[in-house]
Amino acid sequence: MHLVLFFIFGGLCVAGAVNLLFQRHPINSALSLIVVMSSLAVLYLLLGAEFLAAAQVIVYSGAIMVLFTFVIMLLNAGREQRTHGSKAAYLVGIPGAAALVALLVYIFLSNRGPLGDAVLGNYLVTTSDLSRVLFRDFLLPFEVTSVLILVAILGAVALARRER
């Protein structure tokens, strides 16, 4: 049953990603990405990360992708033009990417013995477990990221401001 769920939502992920690749209008790509994000949230649930699943939906699909959509609409991005910018990207990059995926798959496959199965009951991280670790052991990084967010806000406001 978990396997079925995995294949459905895994397939949705891949489909969304491929769609992102092949769509010409950025808004379509954005919507495909939202599909990917949401499917990933389900996969997190299957792996026992309930807080992360929620965060994924709220932050990623709900905030970041909405931001992307707003910007696309703000800038009135149209269909993509086919410009010839770089040969290196195709000649060197595509083989590189192919090599990457081949390598990774090979590595994972050849090491699949030691890795076991993902059973839902085996390891479930509740929100209280997560927060316990987060606010005790990782308090400093937590605070630092809050400063980071503050800086990002300031930066975004400063950069996007219309010059008067």
Partner: protein, 665 residues
């Protein structure tokens, strides 16, 4: 034993004078520059005089160790000064005559813009010369040797705006360098063979091995001779000395008459222990000396510039000294060195006084009749002329006859050497009296010539115009007493200076010979009384040929003044040959200088320097540039191409990490 003699003061005080005058002399008032220069020359002289008066209480050789210089493995060379009889004589000559010439220069160079520079260089010269004379090892002597060459170059080219002076300075330095090359080879051979450069250690080693004859010692001696021919202007490296007359006259007097050029003779005398073991080297020295003596005298016969005549005379007299060394009569050579310092310095200074009096003219053809107008100069110069021609009782008589006698009695062809020396005495008399007549006697020929063409500029003005002194009418006047004083002192020395070396045959005690015996004695002095008849006969013949020379001059220039012209046209081939100094300069130029210049211009400069060395640098740059241009294409500014390279890089890294560290394939 006496306490420390402080020998180091003697060279270092003039060096201090050089530093002060050289660094700040331009800003100081002339009086201060003069005072510094004179004091820094007087102090060494007083120090030397003080040492002289206590000389009998000093055990010689006295060595002063100032510090370690080189210490490399077993080889050792230090700053060591020494004092023995030979050094004493040289010190007296250098500091005494040097001081007199400094005083003279105060008057002669009074109008020069570079006054401070002149005295700075003069003091520098004194420093190096005194180092040369005082040193206890070959290396320190070489320092002084090179240094006097440098000072000579600076002073010959003192008139920096005058092209011929600058070129003469360069010529002197380059020719000297050839000699120095020989000296260096000799130094290397000494180190290789003896392991040391200290006089005492080398001479002691030679003394311990009486079986060492010839071989390496001959090689060392011959290379030393090469150095000496450069410094003392012997054949084949004499060509720089006549050109060196471009320098101011006090320079010619000090450096090219009394002191620097005698450094070669001093060096041969100092190292006579090496030469004594090599009859071949001694013969070489004697032949070079005799040949130079004769040929230089012939070249001086027909010169028209008063200083040139004296220059060739210097070369010729140095030939005499070399001849004496070549027959192992070293103390005779030193005796002649001393008397030559007196009368040659006097001759040059007096010539300078003459030139100064008539406003810069140096050509004897437009002189004449100066006897009444500049009497003090005339009488002092007369004393010098008689001295150099070897008339008794002047100093030159005793020293020159000593040499001729020693040459005559030496085995292996001594009589031929004597013959050349004897003929040269006649030639010397001829050209000196010719100079005397043309300059002082007869009627003045000055008004009958265009002065502007012949006047040699004496002063280089600050406004960079070489002012010919006779642009305005210049009446002939005697020089100031600051110039005449040294002339008088030197004249007295040139007259009575010979009495320190009167040989036993003439009733004297040869004080200088006995004084130098501990250092220069070779053990083959024939007892004076044995051949006193021969000695007197030879002396008489030398005086005789001197008188013959005087007679010929009298006829040619006084009695029948049209005869020289007729003889010149009749023997015009020979005449041309001698007037052009046997074309030696031109031959050297064509055979040595021009090929070297072509070689360096076209092969060394164009091919190697520009082509290979610059080319290699240029090629390296071009390669880097080319390579960079190719790599530059990666920086296209396009994000996607960057991403492509990133992907490849990540893949490569992954491969390296996974398959490198965990080689479980």
């Amino acid at each position: 034993m006496t306490g420390s003699l402080n020998l180091w003061l003697i060279p270092l005080v003039p060096f201090a004078g050089f530093l002060v005058n050289g660094l700040v002399g331009r800003k100081l008032p002339k009086v201060l520059v003069t005072a510094i220069a004179l004091i820094c020359t007087l102090i060494p002289f007083l120090q030397v005089a003080k040492i002289w008066f206590q000389f009998s209480s000093i055990t010689t050789p006295y060595i002063e160790h100032l510090g370690t210089w080189i210490w490399s493995g077993a080889f050792h060379a230090d700053f060591d000064l020494q004092l023995d009889q030979l050094t004493m004589v040289m010190l007296l000559v250098v500091t005494g005559v040097g001081f007199l010439i400094h005083i003279y220069s105060v008057g002669y160079m009074a109008h020069e813009e570079g006054y401070w520079r002149f005295f700075a260089y003069l003091n520098l010269f004194m420093f190096f010369m005194l180092t040369l004379v005082l040193s206890e090892n070959f290396l320190l002597m070489f320092v002084g040797w090179e240094g006097v060459g440098l000072a000579s170059y600076l002073l010959i080219g003192f008139y920096i705006l005058k092209d011929s002076a600058v070129r003469a300075g360069i010529k002197a330095f380059v020719v000297n360098r050839i000699g120095d090359f020989g000296f260096l080879i000799a130094l290397f051979l000494l180190i290789a063979h003896f392991g040391t450069l200290s006089y005492h250690e080398v001479f002691a080693q030679i003394a311990q091995h009486p079986e060492w004859q010839g071989g390496v010692l001959t090689a060392i001696a011959l290379f030393l001779v090469l150095g000496a021919t450069g410094k003392s202007a012997q054949i084949p490296l004499y060509v720089w000395l006549p050109d060196a007359m471009e320098g101011p006259t006090p320079v010619s007097a000090l450096i090219h008459a009394a002191t620097m050029v005698t450094a070669g003779v001093y060096m041969v005398s100092r190292t006579h222990i090496i030469f004594d073991r090599s009859p071949f080297a001694l013969s070489t020295v004697a032949i070079i000396g005799a040949a130079t003596c004769f040929f230089a005298a012939t070249m001086g016969l027909l010169q028209t510039d008063i200083k040139r005549v004296l220059a060739y005379s210097t070369v010729s007299q140095l030939g005499y000294m070399f001849l004496a060394c070549g027959v192992a009569a070293y103390s005779s050579a030193i005796f002649h060195l001393v008397t030559h310092a007196f009368f040659k310095a006097l001759l040059f200074l007096a010539a300078g006084s003459v030139i100064h009096s008539i406003g810069g003219e140096q050509d004897m053809r437009v002189m004449g009749g100066l006897r009444k107008k500049i009497p003090v100069t005339f009488w002092t110069m007369t004393a010098a002329v008689f001295s150099i021609c070897g008339f008794p009782p002047f100093a030159g008589f005793f020293s020159k006859d000593g040499i001729l006698y020693q040459a005559f009695i030496s085995p292996n062809g001594g009589k031929i050497l004597w013959f050349f020396g004897w003929v040269t005495a006649g030639l010397t008399s001829f050209y000196m009296f010719r100079l005397w007549y043309l300059t002082f006697l007869g009627e003045s020929r000055a008004e009958s010539h265009e002065l502007a063409e012949h006047g040699a500029p004496v002063h280089a003005r600050a406004d960079s115009k070489l002012a010919v002194e006779d642009e305005h009418p210049h009446s002939v006047h005697e020089s100031p007493w600051v110039m005449l004083g040294p002339l008088v002192i030197l004249a007295i020395l040139a007259t009575i200076g010979g009495f320190i070396g009167v040989p036993a045959a003439m009733g004297g005690h040869d004080e200088i010979g006995h004084f130098l015996d501990p250092v220069l004695g070779t053990g083959n002095h024939p007892p004076g009384g044995e051949n006193s008849g021969l000695e007197l006969a030879l002396s008489a013949s030398a005086v005789l040929i001197g008188l013959v020379g005087l007679l010929v001059v009298h006829i040619l220039y006084k009695v029948k003044p049209e005869l020289p012209g007729k003889l010149a046209t009749q023997f015009h081939g020979l005449y041309n040959l001698v007037v052009n100094k046997y074309w030696v300069d031109q031959i050297y130029g064509a055979v040595i200088v021009t090929p070297l210049l072509l070689f360096s211009r076209y092969i060394l400069k164009a091919l190697i320097d520009r082509g290979i060395i610059d080319g290699a640098g240029f090629a390296a740059g071009a390669t880097a540039q080319g390579f960079g241009a190719i790599v530059q294409r990666v920086q296209s500014g396009n994000i996607r191409s960057y991403a492509g390279w990133l992907a490849v890089g990540a893949a490569v890294l992954l491969i390296a990490v996974y398959f490198g560290f965990t080689a479980h394939f």
